[in-house]
């Protein structure tokens, strides 16, 4: 089972799939960004010199599309300032110096056998998600509670939990499914209840047979939760493609999953929800895959949020050399790191280190109209055409050609024999259209 249209099969490169999650030692200084999510940055609640406790609320969400920020450690606020994040963009950040003695960072424990999830009401669950700063941990970092506030006139019938992890290299979700299956299933139960639907389906690609077996066996004691094995194809983890693969429903252009009765969350998010609701623990650490040929100790590290990437790389035995590329996330959709002291945040699923010979994109050659980009596009777009329209300044004409539907999965560029930077132009076109819309020039 898979989504029918488009898609590619990049090498999986899941080198760290067998590496159990290990806790990273604490960095000497944590840079806790107030903007770790989509939406507005949180407002700081502490000032320089304050003592903070692990899990203490230090940033209050600003409005609906925002999220709370908590301290990852016991420590003292050294500074509150605008600091560059990993992408080089200055963000309000709280710098905390941890105390020498710290309670350890651990994965959430399994639920006790007599624990009854029924004791939590839907309202309690949504409130805990909001209070504990839970956002999508797959990378998009959308505030999770917002997805469970179903507007009037809309209704959901299916909760989909995304265990696809279709990005090459990344093994975070895979490890969590193996090491915290009961926590994920309980989190799924809680989310299902919060949404008020009868069925929850966990989608996992067939390249993770151990995770499929583990969750399928354990799901037998969760009557509303089932596991759906999916054929391996990128970008199956994209929301619209996953909904199509599992339910056969196509989310219309410009609409949300809720418009086809679905809500999608990541397995990591489900685990965080379990932790927030049952253990009342906020989102203060996460698992990060560190991988790539240049990494001496690749693995899956449990990292306190705010840990500088440079510290994480040092612990993983990375020797940075001229011309390397660091990627935040997977190689298909991840962003290149330009500032290595930027912190690990809630959406940091992986850090990949590419050697100089892997870091460069090949030079572009003439398009021979092979049409592979058209066939690879999971959204049914014509990447060659859209990029040509933007390149020649005709981005307005790309709008009726559905350019805004592009999910930026990169399949077209990956498959292109002429190594055209198709997606660069499509992004530029989307950006210009959004700008024009804001100015009222485009409807």
């Amino acid at each position: 089972m898979s989504f029918p249209q488009g898609g590619i099969h990049p090498p999986e490169s899941k080198f760290t799939a067998a590496d159990a999650i290990v806790t990273l030692p604490l960095a000497p200084e944590l840079h806790i960004a107030l903007h770790q999510h989509i939406g507005k940055p949180a407002n700081p609640l502490v000032k320089v010199g304050d003592e903070v406790k692990k899990g203490q609320l230090i940033g209050e969400s600003d409005g609906l599309i925002s999220a709370r920020i908590h301290s990852s450690v016991n420590g003292k606020v050294k500074k509150i300032d605008k600091l560059k994040n990993a992408l080089g963009i200055p963000q309000p950040t709280i710098i905390i110096i941890p105390e020498a003695d710290q309670p350890p960072h651990e994965l959430p424990p399994e639920p006790e056998s007599e624990m009854d999830l029924a004791q939590f009401s839907a309202e309690q669950i949504v409130k805990a998600i909001q209070d504990k700063g839970i956002v999508g941990s797959g990378g998009a970092t959308f505030p999770t509670n917002v997805k469970y506030m179903v507007p009037d006139g809309k209704s959901a019938d299916t909760l989909i939990i995304n265990g696809v992890e279709c990005e090459p290299y990344l093994t975070v979700d895979h490890r969590l499914m193996l090491e915290c299956p009961e926590q994920i299933l309980s989190g799924t139960e809680l989310l299902r209840k919060a949404l008020g639907v009868e069925r929850a389906i966990i989608g996992i690609e067939a390249n993770k047979p151990d995770a499929i077996t583990e969750l399928t066996n354990r799901a037998k004691s969760h009557p509303h939760v089932s596991v759906q094995a999916l054929e391996v194809k990128y970008p199956q983890g994209a929301e619209k493609q996953l909904i199509k693969a599992i339910t056969g429903r196509e989310t219309p252009s410009g609409k949300l999953p809720l418009d086809v009765g679905c809500v999608v969350n990541n397995v990591g998010t489900a685990m965080m929800v379990y932790q927030a609701v049952v253990h009342e623990e906020p989102f203060i650490d996460r698992v990060v895959t560190v991988s790539g040929n240049a990494v001496a100790k690749p693995g899956n590290y449990l990292v306190p949020l705010g840990t500088p990437i440079s510290y994480l790389l040092e612990q993983a035995g990375v020797e940075l050399i001229h011309g390397m590329k660091l990627i935040l996330g997977g190689p298909m959709m991840g962003k290149a790191v330009s500032h290595i002291d930027g912190p690990v945040i809630k959406g940091t699923s992986g850090i990949l280190v590419f050697n100089p010979d892997e870091a460069s994109r090949p030079a572009e050659k003439p398009c021979i109209r092979c049409s592979r980009c058209v066939h690879a596009c999971p959204m049914g777009l014509e990447p060659y055409f859209l990029s040509a329209l933007v390149r020649t300044g005709n981005y307005v004409d790309a709008y009726p050609q559905s350019i805004m539907d592009c999910v930026e999965c990169g399949s077209c560029v990956y498959i292109c024999p002429a190594d055209k930077p198709l997606l660069d132009y499509i992004r530029e076109g989307k950006f210009k259209i959004i700008q024009d819309r804001r100015k009222g020039k485009l409807k």
């Binding site: 019938d157 290149a336 596009c377 014509e382």
Partner: protein
């Protein structure tokens, strides 16, 4: 912060940065073009084996002049990067040679190749920019300029492989004005397509049914007169299927082209089998197989969507059949493809891939 981390910080400006994706599938234009070149070799080998040394000389002439023309134009006239290693000039050369009769004068072939590369490809800006298949532009030019030589075919196996200096000189020094047969020592022959036309005219004037010289098996294997690369349907099929299996081309264009050809010729054959040849023989003769698998599938000049290619192939096949049955030339394959090349931008404009999320009514309450 530790010293190692600080050392790392000092190197931060040395990181490479780009937009995603950060990996590439490793496909390349060169690999695609050379894959097509290799896929053509079985059919070319059959042509050379059947027709002898002049077929080999013509192939070398066409490939050589194609590469030379592109090199000179790119380097000295257009002053742009020379990309002859991408294999596309070689491909045009091989395809044009395969479209020539085996005893064709070499200097005409050279002229046709120069036209194919210069007017068929480089004048538009080079690889990927041309509207028409360059090899077919060359062929159309030669057919218009030298109709007699372009329709002069020899019997397979009739040319002597014991090449002497005299016979080679006769071939090289021919002007094209004299009778070709005297220059290549070979037996002239009518092609299967020529016979199809004769059959139709005979049926109108005579009550005795016309008997064709070649069995369907001959047509399939290639034991027939014709252009160098078109005779063996089997060898072309092997090359074509290899490209489909390697996912260089799709099967939709060749099958719809041959389907369109079979459809029209089939209708006439059912209506009057005495005057018209059956559709299988039409598919196996002339340039239909070469055109369907290797010329209509030229990526640069054919549509981008599967539906578009089916429309393109189907109409191409229908046009080919109509030219064969009613045109003044016995073969219409190359003109049919050229006409469809011209329609490709139109097809791409109106036939779009199915956009995800279109024409779907959201169903929210099915459970």
């Amino acid at each position: 912060m530790s010293t190692a981390a600080q050392a790392n910080s000092s190197k931060k400006d040395l990181l490479k940065v780009s937009l995603s994706p950060h990996i590439s599938g490793g496909a390349s234009v060169n690999k695609i073009m050379w894959a097509v070149n290799f896929a053509l070799l079985p059919a070319l080998a059959v042509g050379i084996a059947m027709f002898g040394w002049s077929a080999l000389i013509l192939s070398i002439i066409c490939v050589g002049f194609a590469v030379l023309t592109e090199f000179v134009l790119a380097k000295y006239i257009m002053k742009k990067e020379v990309m002859i290693s991408d294999g596309s000039a070689v491909l045009t050369g091989i395809l044009l040679a395969m479209n020539l009769p085996p005893a064709f004068p070499w200097w005409m072939a050279a002229a046709g190749t120069i036209i194919a590369i210069a007017l068929g490809k480089m004048v538009f800006g080079g690889l990927g920019q041309n509207v028409f298949n360059p090899a077919l532009v060359g062929r159309a030019f030669l057919l218009a300029s030298f109709p007699q030589q372009m329709t002069y075919f020899i019997e397979p196996g009739s040319q002597n492989w014991n090449l002497t200096g005299q016979s080679l000189w006769n071939y090289i020094s021919q002007s094209g004005a004299e009778n070709i047969s005297s220059s290549v020592d070979a037996v002239t022959a009518a092609t299967a397509l020529g016979e199809f036309a004769t059959k139709a005219s005979e049926a109108a004037s005579s009550s005795v049914p016309f008997v064709e010289s070649y069995t369907t098996l001959d047509l399939f294997l290639g034991n027939i007169p014709g252009s160098i690369g078109e005779i063996s349907a089997l060898a072309l099929l092997i090359g074509g299927l290899a490209l489909v299996i390697r996912k260089v081309i799709g099967f939709e264009t060749p099958l719809s082209f041959l389907g369109g050809l079979a459809l029209i010729t089939g209708i006439f054959w059912i209506a009057d089998p005495n005057a018209y040849t059956d559709p299988l023989r039409h598919i196996l003769s002339g340039g239909a197989m070469l055109g369907a698998w290797f010329m209509a599938t030229d990526m640069v000049t054919s549509p981008m969507t599967v539906t578009g290619r089916i429309v393109y192939g189907l109409f191409g096949g229908i046009l080919c059949a109509l030219i064969r049955l009613f045109g003044s030339y016995p073969e219409g394959c190359s003109y049919a493809i050229l006409i469809m090349n011209a329609l490709t931008p139109l097809i791409d404009r109106y036939i779009k891939p199915k956009r995800f999320g279109s024409k779907t009514v959201p169903k929210t309450q099915e459970a």
